[in-house]
């Protein structure tokens, strides 16, 4: 039950994009088409889950026993960056169709602050191993949900008559604001 609450909280109530502002760059950059937005969301979920598992192990099995907590930022970012490379090579080797679907998005994920933010959040909230994994999957699902919804709206928005200065990023941000307002309706749920 507790795990379910963590999942719902990460996916909907405290959506990573719309409540914590993590992963805004891909949210604005890759939300032109629903299909690519969905792939991006899937790739992010995948990397998030692995990254949170690995950073949990690094923190609790290496940094904490040796009192090296101050190396947290440096070690996490290095682990995430190399992990993304590794995952990319692995997918390329194992599954070509999956690589073609996710391939181009993987390098972008390294600088996606949602991954790093997730790792930091699960450390500060002192989640245990399983809670951490559920939290990561929930956050990934929330990210996928937000970016796919946004892409759906933007596909319609292409046909709308938006004032010139607001084309592109500004109107996307305003739509995101309205979405965030809608999502804040979930606030009382947990």
């Amino acid at each position: 039950m507790e795990l379910f609450l963590i999942f719902i909280s990460a996916a909907i109530v405290n959506n990573f994009v719309l409540a914590y502002f993590l992963g805004i760059c891909p949210f604005i950059g890759v939300s032109n088409k629903v299909s690519s937005a969905f792939s991006m969301g899937m790739a992010t979920t995948f990397v998030m889950t692995i990254a949170s598992t690995v950073t949990w192990m690094i923190y609790h099995l290496v940094l904490e026993p040796f009192h090296l907590e101050f190396l947290q930022t440096v070690s996490f970012i290095l682990v995430i960056a190399s992990l993304v490379q590794f995952v990319e090579m692995f997918i390329k080797k194992v599954s070509q169709p999956l690589y073609r679907a996710l391939g181009i998005f993987l390098p972008l994920i390294t600088t996606n602050c949602a991954i790093m933010g997730l790792a930091l959040f699960s450390i500060t909230r002192e989640y245990n191993f399983y809670q951490g994994i559920v939290f990561a999957v929930g956050a990934g699902v929330g990210f996928t949900l937000a970016i796919s919804l946004m892409a759906g709206i933007r596909e319609e928005l292409d046909l709308a008559d938006v004032p010139n200065p607001f084309r592109g990023a500004p109107i996307t941000l305003i739509v995101a604001g309205i979405m965030a307002l809608a999502f804040s309706g979930f606030a009382g749920m947990i």
């Binding site: 602050c113 500004p170 804040s184």
Partner: protein, 220 residues
Amino acid sequence: MKKQVSLTQDFLKGIWDQNPIFVQVLGMCPTLAVTVSAINGIAMALATSFVLVGASFLISLIRKLIPTQVRIASFIVVIATFVTIVDLVMQARFPDLSKSLGPFIPLIVVNCVVLGRQEAFASKNNPLRSVLDALGMGIGFLIALFVLGSIREMLATRTILGYQILPEAFNPWLVMILPAGAFLTLGLLMGLANWHAARKDRLSAARALEQYRKSMVAQG
């Protein structure tokens, strides 16, 4: 020989023409997340600027030693080191601010403004230019965060930096401190910046056309 750009231009371009937030649309996450109040915005921008200047200086010093294949990883390590410094100093000296900014201080490490400047500028220019460029970008970032933070703070609590600006009769807009307020304010500000830039372009185009006409008339 590459066209020489003056030092002042390197410094000034970040403040408005290539403002990291309004024009380049980089570093959105901290911008939206911490600007609940003006003071948070300032603190975040100063922390980011420190990292930016420090990293730019160091990277431009060692730019000829870094192999191109591993440059991104090297940049990230240098940036992460400066971020750790900022994080620990803030935890020690300003515990309140550090608490209210939360994980967004360590998240400077994935701020695309910082990495972007290393890739686009510091790895190709000498230390003096790199520091000026970083300072300019830092100030541009500071302005953006301060404006955004002030607007949100003013509309949500009637104050800026704790000083009352709006009269008691003004009914505070709670939405401004919610995430939605951040998106809406930044979207509107960006639209405004675009409108201003487009207007300037149109005016200068009109002026050029006018001059061309005059010269044609003078030639007969």
